[in-house]
Symmetry: C2
Subunit: 292 residues, 2 copies
């Protein structure tokens, strides 16, 4: 790009700020930043996360790309504030965990889905949050999923692929529905199980005494139960169908293991555990191959 | 101790060999070692894990302590081979994950439970296995649970407390039943859920393609699904009642979350997630306080 793409990032939390910092460092964009906390854009400038602070979204003109890096349930409010830009935008995108809900929100405000709109979701994150936790390397070796709509313009997909590739991400495309099914299985259900198990144990155990005896396996398994309750509340309410579908399949499979334990069916236990270990070892190989 | 305690460790896998190495390094014991693989005791001598190799258990005389560091389902066979020692032993113990089954095995062979017998279980482990993975620090900052029986001698409990404390472990006592309930909750159920989820996803997904999109949360959650299928098969068959009990409470609680998602009951979701996060944060504090 001879002239830098002008990118407006709305929401300078961990994801938004890390994306801003990464494309700024890569030299592919001039980055404007807005946050609902008026103190944040100044911090973002001081820490080289963005080039220019935006105090009021309604005053912004002439940007090429708007990235909505806010919680899924806040998308509609952002679209309201940037609707004056949409007709002229090359790209409108987001980073939310549930793509179906984001598409419903955008359509709800704008009435239809503009060709510039390509929803997206980087499969990365971290335990810290906020603009000061921004890391330009956050997306390196991670997937970025784009979910182009039927009328999304190829130019918009191409421009986003370039920006996320510049962050070090591997960009893949799939449908909105497929994305929400995949994330329900690999992320939303595991979080639900971890929250649920930790709560069951905490309520079973007087003064949480049982946790004193837990070891490394439990530590790793339950780490995601320390995630933000409000964010996960939003995810389960907005990705209801896909989550319920995989949850019910899991419950059914778990009942088979329950019956195998009850009836001392060692063959079934060994078969399932062996198959699971093989799949988990395969997953380890994927992770290791990405680091090379 | 002016004269070193003579300790026979039967089974020089990760746990047995690490215990042997730790008490030998601490200078509190003269350690004899046996393994069903005849090549192992020689390796254990070469690597300073034990002082003396035992080729044939029936030929051993005059030891103070026997530690059976073999899988739970192999305990009965070991007791058969050391029954000539039991009358003179100060201590007979083990390191198995399911204490009820170990007690049943010992009683099955000996007819009754000798006063020297104090079952035990170190809450530690590692991904590697075998004598060459032995680490003298493996038990440092970890719990060692002793489950004294009604007739266990106080001298036996005291001697074992001294040996495990010398390994750096924090020794606690509880009943056999309580141990098996606590481990069912904090270790056995999480393993079952991880095996079950990974298997559900692997079977749902053509060519395991779905794992490509999994991130760090899933990696940590599912790590224990790479554990040894045979060992876990044994654990669920031998700790059936306690595992089924906590599993069913979990299934019931999970069904409440399923219904909350179905009926968009955000309050219930937020309440459970918030309670779980608080309990998991408490667990993090426990882990951190142990490292101090």
């Amino acid at each position: 790009m001879s002239v830098k793409t002008r990118v407006l990032v709305v929401g300078l939390g961990l994801i938004g700020a890390s994306f801003a910092k990464a494309i700024k460092q890569a030299g592919v964009a001039y980055v404007l930043g807005y946050d609902r906390d008026p103190a944040v854009p100044g911090l973002a400038i001081d820490t080289q996360v963005i080039d220019e602070a935006v105090a009021d979204l309604s005053s912004v003109t002439s940007v090429d790309v708007v990235v909505m890096a806010v919680p899924v349930m806040a998308i509609a409010g952002v679209v309201e504030q940037i609707r004056h830009l949409v007709a002229d935008l090359t790209v409108l995108t987001d980073v939310g965990s549930v793509k179906g809900e984001v598409v419903r929100s955008v359509a709800g405000v704008l009435g239809d889905l503009p060709a510039c709109f390509v929803p997206g979701h980087p499969i990365a994150g971290g335990e810290k949050s906020g603009v000061l936790a921004a890391e330009a390397d956050l997306f390196k070796h991670h997937m970025h999923i784009l979910t182009p709509l039927d009328n999304s313009s190829p130019a918009a997909v191409e421009l986003l692929t370039g920006l996320w590739t510049a962050c070090g991400a591997e960009v893949v495309a799939m449908t909105v529905q497929r994305h929400d099914e995949v994330l329900a299985a690999t992320s939303h259900l595991p979080h639900l199980l971890a929250f649920s198990l930790v709560d069951t144990l905490a309520r079973e155990s007087e003064n949480r005494e049982i946790f004193k005896y837990a070891a490394g396996g439990f530590r790793d398994f339950s780490r995601i139960a320390a995630s933000d309750p409000t964010m996960w509340h939003d995810i389960f309410l907005t990705n209801r169908d896909a989550t319920l579908s995989i949850l019910r399949r899991f419950q059914s499979d778990l009942s088979l293991l329950e019956q195998a334990i009850e009836h001392a069916d060692g063959d079934l236990l060994r078969t399932v555990f062996t198959r699971a270990k093989s799949a988990r070892d395969y997953f380890t190989e994927i992770l290791e191959s990405r680091q090379k």
